[in-house]
Structure formats: C-alpha cells, structure tokens
C-alpha cells in the first residue's frame, strides 16, 4: 500500500474530509490522522446520529478505497462475519471423488478444506481484498454484539489476521483501515479499546453544524439554516431523554425546505418536531410556550449573527 497517498498532517486530514463534505473538529481529525499513521483501529463512541458511521464512508471515498461494512447484531458469529465453508460444493466434491473410485482419505480431507471452498465474509474480505488495495473496514455498532464476538475481534485488531483451524492463520498483506463505532448501549471491553485509538464524538458546535447543514441540504435558505441550527443547539442544552443529533438536524432542515419555509414559526415547529425528537416525553416537554420561546431566541440569534457579518 503506498502510504504516500495518506494525508501527512492533521490539517491535510481536515481539508481532505471537508472536500468530501465531512466537517470534522480538530480533535477528531487528529485521531483519524493518527489512526492512519500508526495503523491502528479507530474506536468512535458517541450518541446516535453524530456522524460516526459517516466518517468511515467518507474516508473510503476520500482515499479511494472500497468500504467493507460489518453491521453487528446479537449472536453475530464467525460464519456470517468472517468466513464459512461452502458445504454444498464440498459435498459434491466428496461424491465426485467417490464416484471416480480412487479415494485417498487424507488428500480428500485437505482438498475439501482448501481456499477454493471458502466463502469470504466481511472481515476476511477486508484482510484479503480482491483488488489488492487495503479497504476501509467499518465495524458498525459493536455494542450490539455479545462478548464472545468482541473476544474474537482481538486477534483481528491486534494482528490483522484470522485463524481458520483447517487452513491456519491468514494475515493481511497490508492492514485495512479499521473504524469501530459504538452507541454505548453497553460498555465495550477494555481489551478492545486498548488496541484502538479512542475518540468520543460529540455534538458539533453551532458554527460547524451550520456548515454541515448548508453543505448537506441544498436549497436551504441562509436565514432558515441559522435559525434551525440555533434552535437545535438550544434543544441540546435542555434536559431531554434523547438530544437530537446532526442526522436529525439535517432531516428537519430537509423537512422545512420541503414545506417551503423560509423562517421558523411556532406552528411549523410543532408540526415538524417529530423529525427532531423521537421520544413522546421529549415532544411533550416542548409545550407551545416553550416552542415559541425557543423560536424567538433562535430568530434573534440568527438575526444578530447576520448583522455581525454585515
């Protein structure tokens, strides 16, 4: 892998990600830079909808690598995550050999458990890419699996290799770029984290969120985008069960654009709040009075920001 293609400084990472529509803060960019440079997995933890998965997708595009994605779920096992033997083909092979009549047991056993009969699943694909270029391996929502799979990952993350009992260890010629995400529905074991670089992905500040909204929602009015961001930022300061993430802000902005709104008003907010808040308690907490108050604050904030620029 030509490492010269990788960005050579933190600034270069910031610029590269921005070119592909990802506005990372400097701390995240530093972690990404180090992950690339030190060839270590990057462990991203944070609330849902703050752009953890997105970074892997953007990295793949920016570095022109393929993206191999492993979505985790409870009970995920090696057969669906790493490799599986192609049993029907193996069975046919055995029958054919028997039909030919010259059965060498030893040879047959080694024959049917050779690479020809191996079905590659995401992790093995990432270690042995078809095009020879190490891909970006996204292990998404690791907190959804159980501990045994975590333990299995240790070998993959530390050595970039998997061991298949019938074949031996398969090691990556050049290590993939590994991004692991977690929503923290449970604590991931320290042994995994120790092998990774850790970064807590936080909600973006107003300035960065504004940049994201403007880039990702084409056709959004300049003033509306400011108001939307000011409103969401204020919501996050409130005592909610689930604060809205960037994904929600974008959804909401898109909804408002679809409704042809140029500016926020309390009724529209009440009608579209479902794009922003996903728990009934939270929606109930935003009473018409509070909504009106938040809208008024967001509007003044947007106004002053515009004037300051003029």
């Amino acid at each position: 892998m030509p490492s010269s293609l990788l960005p050579d400084s933190v600034d270069a990472v910031v610029a590269l990600l921005e070119r592909y529509d990802y506005f990372a803060d400097r701390r995240l960019a530093t972690s990404v830079f180090l992950a690339l440079k030190m060839r270590r997995p990057l462990f991203l933890e944070g609330e849902a909808g703050v752009g953890k998965t997105e970074i892997a997708k953007v990295l793949a595009r920016a570095l022109s690598r393929s993206l191999v994605r492993l979505q985790c779920y409870e009970g995920l096992d090696t057969a669906s995550a790493v490799y599986e033997w192609n049993y029907p083909r193996q069975m046919i092979e055995i029958r054919l050999t028997e039909a030919e009549g010259k059965v060498d047991r030893e040879a047959l056993a080694t024959n049917i458990f050779s690479e020809r009969f191996l079905i590659r699943r995401p992790i093995l694909q990432a270690l042995q890419p078809d095009d020879g270029v190490a891909p970006v391996l996204l292990i998404d929502e690791l907190d959804r699996t159980d501990e045994p799979f975590e333990a299995y990952l240790l070998e993959v993350l530390a050595e970039y290799q998997v061991t298949i009992p019938e074949l031996g260890a398969i090691k990556a010629a050049s290590p993939p770029i590994v991004i692991i995400t977690s929503n923290r529905t449970r604590e991931i074991h320290d042994a995994i984290k120790r092998r990774c670089l850790y970064h807590w992905v936080d909600f973006p500040n107003a300035e960065r969120e504004l940049a994201i909204v403007r880039r990702k929602v084409p056709g959004v009015d300049a003033r509306l985008s400011r108001e939307v961001v000011a409103f969401t930022q204020r919501l996050r300061a409130m005592d909610l069960f689930k604060s809205p993430g960037i994904a929600e802000t974008l959804d909401w902005a898109e909804a408002l654009v679809a409704l042809d709104r140029m500016s926020l008003d309390p009724e529209t907010v009440a009608d579209t709040l479902g794009a922003l808040l996903k728990y009934q308690d939270d929606i109930g907490a935003i009473t018409p009075q509070i909504a009106a108050q938040l809208v008024a604050q967001a509007r003044t904030e947007a106004q002053t920001a515009v004037e300051a620029r003029v």
């Binding site: 180090l34 409870e74 009970g75 096992d77 059965v103 047991r105 850790y198």
Partner: protein
C-alpha cells in the same frame, strides 16, 4: 511555543512518561504499551500546536468518555508545570488512604476467619457441592433454622455476621435465555455441516451419522437498584453482602444504590474481598440512611443508565420499601418507563413481612402496576424465595406476576 523551549526530544519523552505515570496514579489504566503508543502519536503529530498535541495524547490514553474530565484536569495542570501536579497528588493521597482503615476495623473479622478455617471446598463440581451442604447441616443446622425466619432488623451483631456468611454462599440461579449462538450437541436442532463433512471426507463413502448443534443459552444481565434510605438502612447493609456475593458469582451484574441520589457501585463490588468491597462502597456513597427520592432517582436511572445497562434483555431487581418522601406524578411515569425497558421488573419489598400488608402508601400504589413480581426480602427465607422466583423464566410467569401485583394493588 513554551513547550518547545521546555524540552528537547529526550526531555519530551521523559515528560510524557511522567504524565502517563501521573494518570496511572490518578486511576486511569495506562500501561507501558500505551506510553509507547503515546510517544509514537506525539511524534506523528508534532508539538507545534498545543491542541493537536493534546488530542494525540487523548486518543491514545483515554478509553472511556468518563475519563475525559480527569484527563483534561491532569493535562492542564501537568503541561503547565509537571512538578506541581505531583506535589498535589502527594498531598491528596494520605487523605484518600486515611478513609479505609476505620471501615476495615469496623468489619467483623471473626466470621471470615471462621470461614477461612473451615475448609469448605469451593470447586463447582457436584460432588464438592454436596460436601459443602453436608458440612453446613452438621455445623450450623440449629442456628440456621432460627436465623432463617428472623428479621434482619432484630439481629445481634454476632448473628448478623453469621447471616453474612450464609448469604455469601447463596447462589442466584437466574433463568438462562437462548442466544443465537450454537454449540455441538448429541441431539440438537440443526445439522453441524462442518463436522459432518469432515467426517464424510474420511469415511470413504460409508454412511456417516449427522453431527448436530443446538442453541447455547446464557443468563441475562441483572441490574439491581437498591434503596439505602433511613427506613431501609438495616436491610440495605445486609443486601449489600448479598449483592457482593452475586456480583462475584456471575458476569453482567450492575448495582446502583439510591437514597436521595443515584450511585453506581458495580466497580466497588467487584472487589473479591467482601469487607474491602463494602468499605469502598461506604466511602463512595454519600447518602446512607438519609431521605428517599425514589421518583427522582428512577428518573436519573432512566435517563443516564437505562440505555447503557438494560440493553440485552436485562432483569431489574428493585429493592425498596416504596416509602417515598415526595410522591408526584413523576414516580409512576418513571416506573412505567423502567418496566417497559427491561425484560422483567422484580420488586423486593421488606414491608411484605407484615401479614396484613396493604398497599396503602401513595408511593407503593404508584409503583405496583408496573411490576412483574412483588416479593418480600426481609430475611433469609425470603431470599431463598427470591431465588425460586428468578428461576421461573417464561413470559407466562411474568404475566401471572403482574396479576399478582394487581391483586395487592386492589
């Protein structure tokens, strides 16, 4: 920049080493491998920008979001003046240690010594367990019988010590739940193709018996919410021993105490030694035997912890007498949420020891409708009963529990 003048390369390495040691002393798990990684990271990023330098150290040395605050403080102090922080730590340390001895002295040693001297084998084999039971019967049969029905509240110190020992031996057989994983089995539900084919390959065309696999089962996580307010004080201490026993018996147990505020004591209970563990817990909890704010504490649990702890079909044990000092609408709302976000909600209430117990207090009435099972927990017998309740696994039992709870509420 100031850092640049302060140290050359060798100096920088030394300082990072120092910094790592400071973090370790402050309780962060920073091993030698991490120090090396930190050096590598700093080398990659450079020391031109303080912000980058900090982010580099951070991404290597931190493992959890909670460690951020500690790291930030240490970073600010250390990279201004390395020696200042160490002096401060030294000043702090004696105080921290100073807390432990009195707690240890308080713990009744005799019972533990006795346990240590009676060589009850702890191996989990069936034979060994039988032996243990025999030993119990001969040595403590009489006193055990008395103790089993005696209230925790009316016991002498010596009796308490003995109960503590018994509780330590209590095992909690939680129902096992089927997982999506399988294991080889004599008579299973799915064919193990891998094993079958391996057998076929070496069978030379002879008929090969199928190899089977069946689902593995596993105990669900257990979350214990235990009330330690004034009215619960005596039980709560007893229950702490019980909680310590189950925490060390199985994995995925989380324990939180609440009175006026909520404290997670899981890490403290992981201490193998029961006295060290309880001493740590006493030091960590600040609202022993105070008032109760059940509603507020449950609200905090629902908001801060439920998504992190109740993820994989957890069972919740709620241990409280339900006597809340401020019952509002909040309590029943929070109970409803708690009940809906866990697999089963079991309420252990010491007040149930009174035969004519009625769900009069407003707090209890607010909580009852959302409980799957409602059990007493005032003496050893009730703990054994708890064990039985936990063994009943099916959803049918859960509904029956709900009906039972409704009967009480009526």
């Amino acid at each position: 920049m100031a850092e640049r003048q302060l140290f050359g390369r060798a100096h920088l390495a030394e300082n990072i080493l120092h910094f790592a040691r400071v973090l370790r002393k402050a309780g962060l798990p920073v091993g030698p491998a991490k120090v090396i990684a930190a050096l590598e990271a700093v080398e990659a990023v450079g020391v031109d920008k303080r912000e980058d330098f900090r982010a580099a150290l951070e991404s290597v040395l931190i493992e959890r979001h909670e460690q951020q605050v500690l790291f930030d403080q240490a970073f600010e102090l250390f990279w201004r003046n390395p020696h200042l922080l160490e002096r401060m730590l030294q000043l702090l340390l004696p105080k921290i240690y100073g807390r432990v001895p009195p707690a240890e002295a308080e713990a009744p040693l005799p019972s533990r010594l006795a346990e240590a001297m009676a060589p009850a084998p702890r191996a989990p084999s069936i034979e060994a367990q039988e032996q243990e039971v025999d030993l119990d019967a001969t040595l403590t049969f009489s006193s055990r019988e008395v103790l089993q029905t005696k209230d925790f509240e009316t016991m002498t110190v010596a009796e308490l010590a003995q109960v503590k020992l018994m509780i330590a031996r209590l095992r909690l057989p939680l129902p096992e739940l089927p997982t999506r994983r399988t294991r080889p089995a004599e008579r299973g539900t799915t064919v193990d193709l891998r094993a079958t084919l391996r057998a076929m390959a070496s069978a030379r065309g002879a008929v090969v018996p199928l190899a089977w696999r069946r689902r593995r089962s596993r105990r669900p996580p257990l979350v214990v919410l235990c009330d330690i307010s004034g009215s619960m004080d005596r039980y709560a201490r007893m229950l702490l021993f019980f909680l310590h026993a189950i925490t060390n018996d199985r994995d995925r147990v989380h324990t939180l105490l609440f009175g006026t505020r909520l404290t997670n004591i899981t890490r403290h209970l992981r201490q193998r030694d029961v006295d060290v563990a309880t001493a740590r817990v006493s030091a960590a909890v600040s609202d022993w035997a105070g008032g109760t704010r059940i509603g507020a504490c449950l609200a905090e649990f629902n908001r801060r912890w439920s998504r992190r702890l109740l993820g994989q079909g957890a069972i919740v044990l709620l241990i409280t007498d339900g006597l809340d000092s401020d019952v509002g609408d909040g309590l029943s709302l929070e109970m409803e949420r708690l009940g809906k976000s866990c697999r089963r909600l079991i309420w252990l209430n010491p007040l149930l020891r009174y035969e004519h117990f009625e769900a009069r207090p407003a707090g209890i009435r607010a909580m009852l409708p959302y409980v799957d099972e409602f059990l007493p927990v005032h003496n050893l017998e009730s703990l054994t009963q708890l064990t039985a309740a936990l063994t009943s696994t099916s959803a049918r039992h859960a509904t029956r529990g709900r009906v039972n709870a409704e009967r009480f509420a009526a």
